[in-house]
Subunit: 106 residues, 2 copies
Amino acid sequence: MSNLGSLEETVLLLVMVLESEAYGVSIASEHFKRHDREISIPAIHTVLKRLEKKGYFTSKYGGVSKERGGRRKRYYTITQAGYKVLSQVQEDRQNLWSLITRPSFS
Amino acid sequence: MSNLGSLEETVLLLVMVLESEAYGVSIASEHFKRHDREISIPAIHTVLKRLEKKGYFTSKYGGVSKERGGRRKRYYTITQAGYKVLSQVQEDRQNLWSLITRPSFS
DNA sequence: CAGATTTTCGTATTTATAATACAAAAGTTA
DNA sequence: TAACTTTTGTATTATAAATACGAAAATCTG
């Protein structure tokens, strides 16, 4: 409980960054834009569903559009529970980082 | 390539924090002390071995002791490659966090 | 020095997460 | 309604993490 996979954490963050424009495809392209590395769309969708089931996201379908074809988007937003877990994880890591003074390698 | 599981990241950090005293048991107790949540020793050992194989750690056996019984400790230290991956991941996440202004929940 | 005790490492298995392959839904346009 | 576009979705495989269990290697005690 209260543990997050690395992809799960990334997706939570990207959804927050994208605010009202967070859906499968935009999450993928935002990640690619920022990290120059792909996450496949299906991988993102399974994470979104999993985290929605855990109560970290809610989702709803967007409306139809006159501008483009294609299926409707499913938009995701983070819940307070999701935000809480996400920031806790980050805080814990910051604390560890603050303890590292001068790294010594092997 | 260049992707880190969440436990892998935690263990990398703990090894750096523990400096010259990083071995299976000390890593487990340091984590428990800081997060009030257990990681089992075997879980830690498998991660340590996996990351050593990936070139992120090196290890060596410690000497015998007159103070205590028991098997010798295997000490781990991080490599430059390990540090590089670890800090890259953290930097990427910081960048995402910096883009989040006012979180809005569902 | 044999047997008990301590401390740690290690392996084998199961479960959970992530990645890949592939398909189908749901919209627009001609 | 056929062709095209965009997105969601499911089924399978691969990788990472957790659990169950055991063995190695040291000291201590009679």
